[in-house]
């Protein structure tokens, strides 16, 4: 069975995107006598280019032998283990974006900073907590003041 290497995953994902966008490009208004080339031509050229390059990447990755790897299950487990911090950080950021309009800038920002600093720095000593909390509170408020009063930008 073929193993899924980085290149193969990339090529397959891109081909999927190209296919979806090609179908979607069908709903773009057709060319008229005023616009003989239409609006779909340019993205379609690009889709063909991306498609061709993805195929080339796929073919090239099939020609070179994939490195031998351990069983898939163990692999996924390991992957989650090593990328736990990154995944958590992405989740926190998503949560931050979602909470911004609900709880407002100050609360959401302090929440995000405290949580992500705790995630990255660790919470094993009192000193780390002190740095974390001081930094989160001052920074959130300083940025708020600079934007609202210095630059006249209203934050949510």
């Amino acid at each position: 069975m073929l193993t899924l290497t980085k290149d193969r995953a990339l090529a397959l994902a891109l081909l999927l995107i190209v296919a979806v966008m090609w179908v979607e490009s069908g709903s773009i208004a057709p060319p008229t006598s005023w616009q003989p080339y239409g609006s779909a031509l340019f993205p379609r050229i690009l889709l063909v280019v991306i498609g061709v390059f993805s195929l080339l990447i796929l073919v090239r990755s099939l020609l070179t032998k994939a490195p031998e790897r351990a069983g898939a299950k163990q692999l996924i487990g390991e992957w989650f283990q090593s990328r736990r911090t990154i995944l958590a950080l992405f989740l926190l950021f998503g949560l931050y974006a979602a909470l911004l309009p609900v709880v407002g800038y100050i609360a959401a920002t302090i929440g995000f900073l405290v949580a992500s600093l705790a995630l990255l720095m660790g919470i094993n000593t009192r000193r780390k907590w002190m740095i974390n909390l001081t930094l989160s509170f001052t920074l959130a408020i300083v940025i708020f003041v600079v934007f609202r009063y210095g630059l006249n930008v209203w934050l949510p």
Partner: protein, 504 residues
């Protein structure tokens, strides 16, 4: 020329703009001196603060960051032996040994002095060649501009990291991103039924998402691989001014050569500070009467590195301002900032906005002076700041990115755009896709489409691109650049295989 320059000086010379340049330079130096932060990231973090400013203030602040950023690598390079930005890798080769021999002040002083001279010389290059190239490119019609953009994209794709296929694919992907939303004929494209997608993606959240997330999260991953312990460093530095003056007088030719190399490399698409400092270090070594001293702490090595990477700043502005085509990542972002302020960089800018062009010259010059003062007076602080751990830096910068994206239009959709493209950028980076061509594609996409169809509306034959000499030349260069990187790739692959065989 002198007239608009004086007018620009008057605008830049106001206390508030001067203050902004100082803040920009300070922030740039800090950004440049923190390993893994880079000039590009410093620019990205600062740009939201320019939204509410007038163009001259905004651009001056950004130019300050630019000038400071390219010099900021000196501090961490000399004191820690870690290049603060990739563009100061060769600074470490001689700066660190010199500091280890007990002369950190001398190393810093030489670095700062050559940075300053490099910036000045590159501004001269910009002032001379910018208008020249702009007036030449005024004759470009849509065919030539289309071909030139294609050439710039293929060049960047081929040069970015020896992954030609992925680079070209990334450039096309970047162009594709700009087709979302209403187009020039007010036809809706790729909105997938979501009203928010109708206006398309703003360039800046897309750029920040793709660049910042991959870079910052990459830093975190690196952190795990190499648990480096905090080095104890002595931040107590005195600058021996007399010694530096003596060192610099012996380096006139080296300074000039390195600055010119830096300006030239900066002006070429797809290259930047990283290429400039390696190229110029190598040249300095070849021309030196004592090549064996390189790498042991010779002033020549520091001068070659720092003069060239600082000269990139001025050089990189040439194609951006004169042709509207940014050559590297920081410039692509700079161009995004200019567009945001309603200014379209390109040959017309010299006619329509001469004061702004003058303001860029003036802030580069003032920025260089401020940079010297800041570096010499505050070097201890910069050395301390450069020790900020990534664990603290990353959450703070992510938060600033989110606020920056939001402040653009007071629109929460832009934060989601940032987030989605952050994930896309991270995944592409993991798949070893070079991100610079992608970001360049995002910046140039709208213009490429507009020019391409203007050309076709003027003359419906696609052959016109090949029958007009200049456009044919640019397209031929595009093909040549692809063939060249194909050849390069093959060579690297052969070397790799040979190395593998030897190991077996």
């Amino acid at each position: 020329m002198t007239n608009f320059f004086l007018q620009a000086l008057a605008e830049v010379g106001t206390p508030s703009v001067l203050g902004l340049i100082v803040i920009g330079v300070l922030f740039g130096i800090v950004g440049g001196s923190i390993p893994g932060f880079t000039v590009t990231m410093a620019i990205l973090v600062v740009f939201p603060f320019t939204f509410a400013m007038d163009p001259v203030s905004g651009v001056s602040l950004m130019v300050g960051v630019f000038v400071g950023g390219y010099s900021g690598g000196i501090v961490s390079g000399v004191m820690l032996g870690i290049p603060g930005t990739p563009s100061s890798i060769t600074t470490v080769y001689d700066g660190y040994p010199m500091a280890q021999k007990g002369e950190p002040g001398r190393a810093l002083g030489i670095g700062v002095a050559s940075s300053f001279l490099g910036t000045l010389i590159s501004v001269a290059v910009l002032v001379f060649f910018g208008p020249l190239i702009a007036s030449f490119s005024m004759n470009f019609r849509p065919w030539e501009i289309t071909a030139l953009i294609v050439f710039a994209l293929t060049l960047v794709a081929g040069l970015s990291s020896g992954a030609l296929l992925k680079g070209l694919m990334a450039a096309a992907l970047g162009l594709l991103i700009t087709t979302v939303g209403y187009d020039r004929n007010s036809n809706l494209r790729f909105d997938f039924g979501l009203p928010a997608m109708g206006s398309g993606f703003e360039i800046l959240p897309v750029m920040i998402g793709i660049f910042a997330f991959s870079q910052l999260l990459g830093n975190i991953e690196k952190l795990k691989d190499e648990k480096s312990e905090a080095k104890k460093i002595d931040t107590n530095v005195t600058i021996p001014y007399g010694q530096i003056l003596k060192d610099m007088t012996g380096q006139k030719l080296n300074t000039l050569r390195s600055s010119l190399i830096g300006s030239l490399v900066g002006a070429l698409p797809g290259t930047g500070g990283t290429v400039a400092n390696f190229l110029s270090y190598d040249q300095a070594k070849k021309f030196s009467r004592h090549p064996e001293e390189f790498g042991t702490g010779t002033p020549s090595g520091i001068v070659a590195s720092e003069a060239s990477n600082s000269a990139v700043a001025g050089g990189a502005f040439v194609p951006t301002l004169a042709l509207g085509i940014p050559g590297d990542l920081p410039m692509a972002i700079m161009m995004g900032v200019l567009i945001l302020h309603g200014i379209t960089p390109g040959p017309m800018m010299f006619e329509q906005n001469p004061v702004l062009v003058g303001a860029i010259y003036a802030s580069l010059l003032i920025g260089a002076v401020v940079m010297v003062l800041c570096n010499l007076l505050l070097v201890r602080w910069f050395a301390k700041i450069s020790l900020i751990p990534q664990q603290i830096l990353v959450p703070v910068v992510l938060m600033l990115c989110a606020i920056g994206a939001y402040a653009l239009n007071n629109n929460l959709f832009d934060i989601w755009v940032l987030f989605i493209f952050g994930i896309i950028g991270y995944l592409l980076w993991k798949a070893e896709v070079p991100l610079t061509p992608l970001i360049l594609g995002v910046v140039l996409g709208d213009n490429l489409e507009r020019q391409l169809f203007r050309a076709l509306e003027l003359n419906e034959s696609w052959m016109t691109f090949l029958t007009r000499p200049l456009s044919a030349l640019f397209l031929a260069l595009a093909v040549a650049s692809i063939l060249f990187s194909l050849y390069q790739d093959r060579k690297i692959q052969r070397l790799k295989n040979a190395a593998l065989r030897e190991n077996i």
